[in-house]
Symmetry: C2
């Protein structure tokens, strides 16, 4: 096998090359014998045969009398058969059929008369008898090889006298986190500390794939230390994942360490994110055999994708679990997506069914943004030879949720306010099947999403400078033909969020030129307000340090101020409160919901309106602070 | 709540009545706080908010130098910016952005010249910086209530400083097996002992439904003992299943015991099997609160159905897991199905896609036949007001396997031979995605199933009395227009299976009148052979004891002989061997496969033919014994 460094193998070729290399060297599953009580969900390693029949004796299937059916032949309503003691045996359900008997008569049909027993109908041989082997005959194959064991299969095996069986062993998969700055999870990490959560994500994925994860302590960026841990892991595990620190240097160590103890099959796959993956293997010095070793990049999103695409097929060779075809769907992408020709790119997206079409809203593509995997309903798969897609084009999406769930999803796209998450949570607590997907793209983004039929609704707070009113003038401009309604939500206060205690003595927007600022993205209602206030205060944005620094949510702006990298940012009271910032109120504004008329009758939208009007929403807003409720949920006339 | 005894409530009404009764009395889930490491697959009990931002500091996203971007403004290819030590800081990926810096320049773009550093392009503020909160801002809602925790969610919580969270507690569900004859699983149960495997099946189902099963020791049929165990279980568990012994008496105890410690909401549901279910509740004497108590009939199939239809919706109130809609499909039923008007009936069935239509082959309807649940791919749901279906009618089937799996299923319907299971197992070992559904309906049943387009193929061994040849004359009769091929399988020996050592000195079929016999069902090739031999030997079947006693497989006949309830039965050597019976050869016969021409090109059929010709099949037949292979897998000319 030639040594290959940072190649750009197409994904499918890379996986096939890796599988071939492993199979050539004899990668195989292991088996173990376990009691039935532990076998749920496990995979049979060989066919299971019945040891005894079920039932294992001829069993009476009714309470009544057992007898030789020939004694009753000819019995009718008018000429009953009369039996004496000794002709029959009194039996209960489950009793063995007594010797000499071949049938059971139900107790309800047994008439005691004159010291005898009368039967007014003939019994058929073998009636009301569960014959030996009725369910399973000894020697029958109960389960073939490589079959997942269900609850009923457990019962069938026990019924057939099988108390232990040979199953495929759950592969132990070692996870080695490496990196000098990596620290265990903490509520108070120091500056520069990188919280090690990849091993927890990977452990979860491995558990779901039928493996037993084994996480090793964090190893520093030191070749000898990494090699030593890797060598131990290869001896102790059936497969190993080496999780590089986020520095480029440590990735080099991964490949080097793998070469030190085994072999690198290939290094570098044409996918984004995930390119620098190292696909290797090693031989255990114990009798463990061949061990696949995977080096994954440090960013969580890269790691997740490499594990799914490269390591899952390898692990299936060890678990023998059936390969479940990944479900895909076609969706309309909500905005332009550029992608490098050199790589096959995977972009996480929210999905929703709006107006009969499945819409994919791409999420943050950063490889470090693990929350995008929590929000994602699907992964857009952009082939290697594509430069991307225009908005409105059809894209191929791998589903993370069922189409049924996506059809139920309420798609909210527009301005960010924490109240949207609270609404979603109240809906979910009230109706457990509620699903809300909300994307923060600013008020103008919300208007465009509803207009293009890509969202059911969106939050907007857009100041019209000419009239000094909110929202309605924008609807008149963008929806001249109607088709949308405006639903009252809240009045909230916008203001400057500044360091606790306001050490710089900031009094208002006019102070901006002497401050460092953090702004919101263009098209957001808050940015429009800032730009307006700048003009009002005759401030040249070019002269304000950080005016071009853009964040996408109120909380992200608050976080920037709280960290001290900006003196001030515009936002709402609830965001300032979360970070313990001082809040300098600037102006109240109307935050409304823009809802597509088509969507108004959807159950999810009706639920939302119901929650808007309810007491729990009011209580939660009270707690967040800075909101005034007038007639929440009321449809406002605007055209 | 009025006391109701053995009512006939329609299923949906019964479930609603039960849920209402429980909800009125305040049934609710419990919660617990657990570390993230244990939270995979659990359900959030309340919304989870970020405690810290991720990243929690402004982090350099590249190896290079950090600086104030303003120092580089105006730098171009021809007029580089020149920086001195002190103007910048050398940084690695993940390092905190040093104070006074707002951007990072990649090391590749940093040119050392004359003791200075030159930059040939301007840096944009915040370039190559992962800003604080880029992924998650402190205070953001990471997960709403009642959400299943995925691997990525574990990572997002740890990244956001959440180390513990409140989840819905896994409900502990007690299972109390009762019955005098019930014994723990054993390889050698005594006659009359009933192996207790229901609690293992139920435990498996409960585990799959997100509960923690707790199995109590077997309780004898004694009211006081049952009541005491039930009272303990109600105090120790969140829900309890009382599994009656199979006798009618013990079922009475269930309702009585439940009334003793709590309340019976209703007793008797209009379903078959499962009618005598008891739906009850009790109050824990500890602080545990309200506990649903279910009395289920003793037969495993009844128990499984009652648990699925009645208790699963109750348990979902405790687990808060999303209700997954059960998938249904329409299928053509392969034979007439009668059903009582009084009950909604559930009939297990094998499913397969044959010639473009989904076919449902009903399985044994016995409530004790747990193996039918292992074989079943779906459950035919016959409404309460239906008398059943004619063969060929469309029925509503609840899917136990995916439609994708059913589409891959090779449907074999016809004569029974253990070699079919061996073929299926070899196929599965060779191609892990192979799925074979074989039903034993006899040779004539196989011919009819292939003719009606309900099976891809079937095993047949049909003696034509006139010509003394096998199979071909039948094909000429039933397939005058062709459309099927005959594929060579094996020659096998039929004979009488008798007690070990042949104590009755049986020499051949002529001895039948003096023996008790066990026969095969009408339409099976073996039955046709028996009838032929009876005529040959001038035996009147009416005079042979047990000639009308019918079993469906060779092994079931062997089991009957082995149990001593019959002196002899006709079958093949391999079946006799499994039971250690003496085998008296009668005649060889040709066992072939009849394959629909349409099916011949299916991948599954091609795989089958490949296995038929392979060495492993020959080895396995050798082990079974009694088979001769000539040209297995060869297509025989017949028309």
């Amino acid at each position: 096998m030639p040594f290959q460094y940072l190649t750009n193998f197409p994904l499918d070729d890379a996986v096939q090359t890796y599988l071939d290399a492993l199979s050539t060297r004899g990668l195989t599953y292991k088996t173990e014998k376990i009691p039935i009580g532990l076998a749920l969900g496990r995979i049979t390693a060989r066919a299971v045969y019945a040891k005894i029949s079920a039932p294992h004796y001829n069993a009476c299937a009714m309470d009544g009398i057992a007898l030789d059916a020939r004694l009753t032949f000819g019995a009718t309503e008018t000429t009953p058969a009369r039996l004496n003691e000794g002709d029959f045996v009194r039996v209960d359900t489950g009793d063995p059929l007594p010797a000499g008997c071949d049938s059971v008569v139900m107790i309800e049909d047994v008439i005691a008369e004159d010291g005898q027993v009368s039967l007014y109908a003939a019994a058929a041989p073998w009636q009301h008898v569960r014959q030996i082997g009725e369910d399973i005959s000894a020697g029958d194959m109960i389960l073939p090889s490589f079959t997942e064991i269900t609850p009923a299969a457990l019962g069938a095996m026990l019924a057939a006298g099988v108390l232990k069986l040979e199953v495929v062993k759950l592969p132990v998969v070692g996870i080695i986190p490496t990196g000098d700055e990596i620290v265990p999870p903490s509520e108070h990490p120091g500056e520069g500390d990188i919280i090690e959560f990849n091993s927890t994500i990977f452990s979860g994925m491995l558990t779901q794939w039928g493996c037993l994860p084994k996480v090793y302590p964090i190893v520093k960026d030191n070749l000898a230390a990494i090699e030593e841990t890797l060598r131990n892991a290869v001896d102790e595990c059936d497969a190993v994942i080496l999780n590089a620190g986020s520095s480029a240097g440590s990735e080099d160590y991964s490949a080097q360490a793998m070469r030190g103890i085994g072999e690198v099959v290939l290094h570098g796959i044409a996918i984004k994110p995930g390119k620098p993956a190292v696909l290797g293997l090693a031989q255990a010095s114990t009798q463990g055999g061949l061990v696949p070793v995977l080096g994954v990049p440090g960013y969580p999103v890269s790691g997740i994708l490499v594990l799914e695409h490269v390591f899952k097929p390898v692990l299936e060779q060890l678990t023998c679990l059936p390969h479940v075809e990944i479900q895909h769907t076609q969706a309309v992408v909500s905005r332009r997506l550029n992608s490098p020709l050199k790589y096959r790119e995977f972009v996480r997206a929210r999905l929703g069914l709006v107006n009969g079409k499945t819409v994919a809203v791409p999420l943050n593509r950063g490889a470090g943004v693990v929350s995008s995997f929590v929000k994602a309903d699907g992964i857009i798969d952009i082939p290697q030879d594509m430069e991307g897609y225009e908005a409105g084009q059809s894209v191929n999406v791998r589903l993370l949720h069922s189409l049924d769930e996506i059809a139920r999803m309420l798609v909210i796209t527009g301005s960010h306010d924490p109240l949207l998450d609270e609404l979603a949570d109240i809906m979910r607590r009230t109706w457990r099947d509620s699903l809300v997907a909300s994307s923060h793209v600013g008020s103008m983004g919300g208007i465009m999403a509803v207009k293009r039929g890509e969202a059911h609704l969106g939050g907007i707070h857009l100041l019209d400078e000419a009239s000094g009113t909110y929202n309605v003038p924008y609807l008149k401009k963008y929806f001249p033909d109607g088709g949308v309604v405006l639903v009252e939500c809240v009045e909230r206060v916008q203001g400057l969020m500044v360091a606790p205690g306001n050490p710089k003595g900031i009094r208002g927007f006019a102070d901006l030129p002497r401050l460092s600022y953090v702004n919101r993205q263009k098209g957001s209602g808050t940015r429009i307000l800032c730009d307006y206030l700048a003009r009002e205060n005759k401030i040249d944005p070019g002269q304000v340090q950080g005016y071009e620094r853009e964040e996408f949510t109120h909380t992200a702006v608050a976080a920037a101020v709280a960290s001290g990298t900006a003196d001030a940012g515009m936002g709402i009271l609830s965001a300032a409160r979360i970070y313990g910032l001082t809040f300098i109120p600037i102006c109240p504004e109307q935050y409304d919901l823009l809802i597509a008329e088509d969507a108004l009758e959807l159950e999810a939208v009706q639920r939302l309106l119901q929650v808007l009007k309810g007491p729990e929403f009011a209580q939660r807003l009270e707690k967040l602070g800075g909101y005034t409720l007038d007639k929440p949920g009321e449809v406002r006339k605007w055209n």
